[in-house]
């Protein structure tokens, strides 16, 4: 036999015992060719294009799941930032109609989420972005699949604090308009947003992307945890090597499936995002992988080093396996969606401060964090601005997805349902940054030398 039983068993048990899956296949499509002066024709073109592409993705992904025996969990679409399409149709009512159109097409096609209902405003908020943000709470409340993003800074332009200041009030309004603030889970605010990110809520088809491209995200926290657990006595160098080898294998499998899926759909293959992405499923937790390294509960002292070690090894293994690594390619530590993280917040080992520190060494940001609904908008803005400053200065992507859940207190447990998991409301500091945040303006682009 060309393969040993050990090799065959290793691959099969990654799926059977360790929850290996293709977390997302995201088709990025450019909608600029749909723009028309007649708004109804414009919407019809958008609807037709999303529906056709979505159906093709669903059909071909199902065939490959069978062929390779690896589940493809989510099928998604990312479109051109909608604010860029709507400059000549810039009214609140039309933005809401466009959100409805995207939602209807995605649901009809059987797509889980459609991303891109957002904009880029790293320097200044355009009229189009301002209108979009104004109607966003309603758009999120009346749709089920539409996801939104806002890029408010880059390392080369600095950060637009005026844009950040619009986010807090918008989130508070969204929280009031959607059940258990769940609409806020479909909005993410970024700096250095990647244009080819396949993960929601922040996926969009960037302006430098092809007309259409297939991007995929692989998941394997369970596989990584398993290899760490089997090698309890290894030192850091050895454990890094083990993780690299394992991630190499799962990335190769992901790239194989991604390339074949793109070929079957007659579209170019974009990138593989090598992020570890946890789910609410038992054993599919990044926190558990960190704890398997010897951290009693994530958030304990030592966690930052553990995350740094884990993610550096993941990146090295993934980068060797695929020449087209892109997207976020960090680790996600979404609090509510990761059972291990939820437990850590409940135990008190993890709070916002340590979470922010972890994001400095690798992860993508404060993700699926719940705070009391009474948190002042300025404090939400300040939490966001702090996290985004980490990204601006360190020349990396950071993002925030935060839910100010009405009528909750620190420690309240709120079930968000499905993949969103269980939110444990985290305390925020009672001291205000109101005066600082109200200064507004733009954080200048940082120097990229003098790195200490």
């Amino acid at each position: 036999m060309a393969f040993t039983v050990e090799e065959v068993f290793e691959t099969a048990s990654m799926v059977v015992h360790q929850n290996l899956d293709i977390r997302t296949t995201t088709l990025a499509i450019n909608l600029r060719d749909c723009v028309h002066s007649d708004f109804n024709r414009f919407r019809q073109r958008v609807y037709d294009k999303v529906l056709t592409c979505g159906r093709s993705l669903i059909r071909e992904a199902a065939a490959l799941e069978q062929k390779y025996g690896i589940p493809i969990v989510n099928k998604r679409i990312a479109v051109t930032p909608v604010s860029l399409l709507m400059d000549s149709h810039c009214t609140r009512a039309k933005f809401l109609q466009m959100a409805d159109t995207l939602d209807r097409a995605a649901q009809k096609a059987g797509i889980d989420f459609i991303g891109g209902f957002g904009g880029l405003c790293q320097k200044k908020v355009t009229r189009s972005v301002a209108t979009l943000l104004d109607c966003l709470p309603d758009a999120l409340a009346r749709t089920r699949t539409v996801c939104s993003f806002l890029n408010v800074g880059t390392t080369t332009t600095g950060m637009n604090l005026d844009a950040v200041n619009l986010v807090g009030p918008m989130l508070k309004m969204t929280a009031r308009k959607t059940k258990r603030a769940a609409g806020c889970a479909r909005f993410v605010v970024f700096v250095n947003a990647p244009e080819d990110n396949p993960f929601m809520a922040g996926a969009f088809c960037g302006v430098g992307e092809p007309d259409v491209a297939l991007n995929i995200g692989i998941s394997g926290p369970g596989v990584v945890r398993s290899v760490i657990e089997k090698n309890r006595e290894c030192d850091l160098t050895e454990v890094s090597e083990m993780i690299k080898r394992t991630v190499f294998k799962i990335t190769r499998a992901g790239e194989l499936i991604g390339r074949e899926l793109a070929k079957r759909m007659h579209v170019p293959f974009g990138i593989v995002d090598i992020s570890l992405a946890s789910t609410t499923k038992y054993g599919d937790s990044v926190a558990n992988a960190i704890e398997a390294l010897g951290i009693e509960s994530i958030g304990a002292h030592g966690s930052t080093l553990a995350v740094a070690l884990l993610m550096d090894a993941v990146k090295k293994g993934g980068a060797m396996a695929s020449s087209l690594v892109g997207g976020l390619s960090g680790t996600f530590i979404p609090v509510s969606e990761d059972a291990g993280m939820v437990r850590a917040v409940q135990r008190g080992s993890l709070g916002l401060d340590k979470l922010e520190a972890l994001t400095a060494v690798c992860s993508v940001g404060l993700d699926m964090v719940a705070v009391p609904g009474s948190t002042p908008a300025e404090t939400l803005n300040a939490i966001i601005a702090d996290e985004l400053a980490v990204g601006i200065i360190n020349n990396k992507t950071t993002a925030v997805r935060i839910l100010p859940i009405p009528n909750t207190r620190p420690g309240s447990v709120v079930s968000l349902g499905g993949l969103l998991g269980t939110a444990v409301v985290m305390p925020v500091k009672k001291w205000s940054a109101k005066k600082f945040m109200r200064r507004g303006g733009r954080l200048p682009a940082p120097v990229t030398s003098l790195r200490n």
């Binding site: 039983v5 065959v8 290793e10 691959t11 099969a12 048990s13 025996g69 190769r252 194989l256």
Partner: protein, 92 residues
């Protein structure tokens, strides 16, 4: 005809009739067994079968479904995966 090679992985507790019942099902479906190998690993009975699916004319999902049903009846996990995924993972 060009071969379409897949691996059928059987994981579970060793018992009588595993090979007989699986190979019987494959024979009925015109699937040829190219190679077969088994071992006890991490406390599991593991059998890897390399099969040629080129003679199987129905949708692949149907065979996986039938094998899954057999697996449930015998308390075994049975996975069907195309050979290419093993090539990608284990050979550079």
């Amino acid at each position: 005809m060009k071969k379409e090679l897949s691996f059928i992985t059987v994981i579970g507790r060793d018992q009588k009739g595993i090979v007989a019942r699986i190979s019987g099902l494959l024979y009925k479906n015109n699937v040829n067994i190219e190679d077969i190998s088994q071992k006890i690993m991490e406390g599991f009975f593991v059998m890897a079968m390399l099969v040629d699916m080129s003679g199987y004319k129905k949708p692949a999902a149907r065979l996986s479904g039938e094998l899954e049903k057999l697996g449930t009846a015998m308390h075994l996990t049975i996975q069907v995966q195309h050979e290419n995924v093993f090539k990608s993972m284990h050979r550079v």
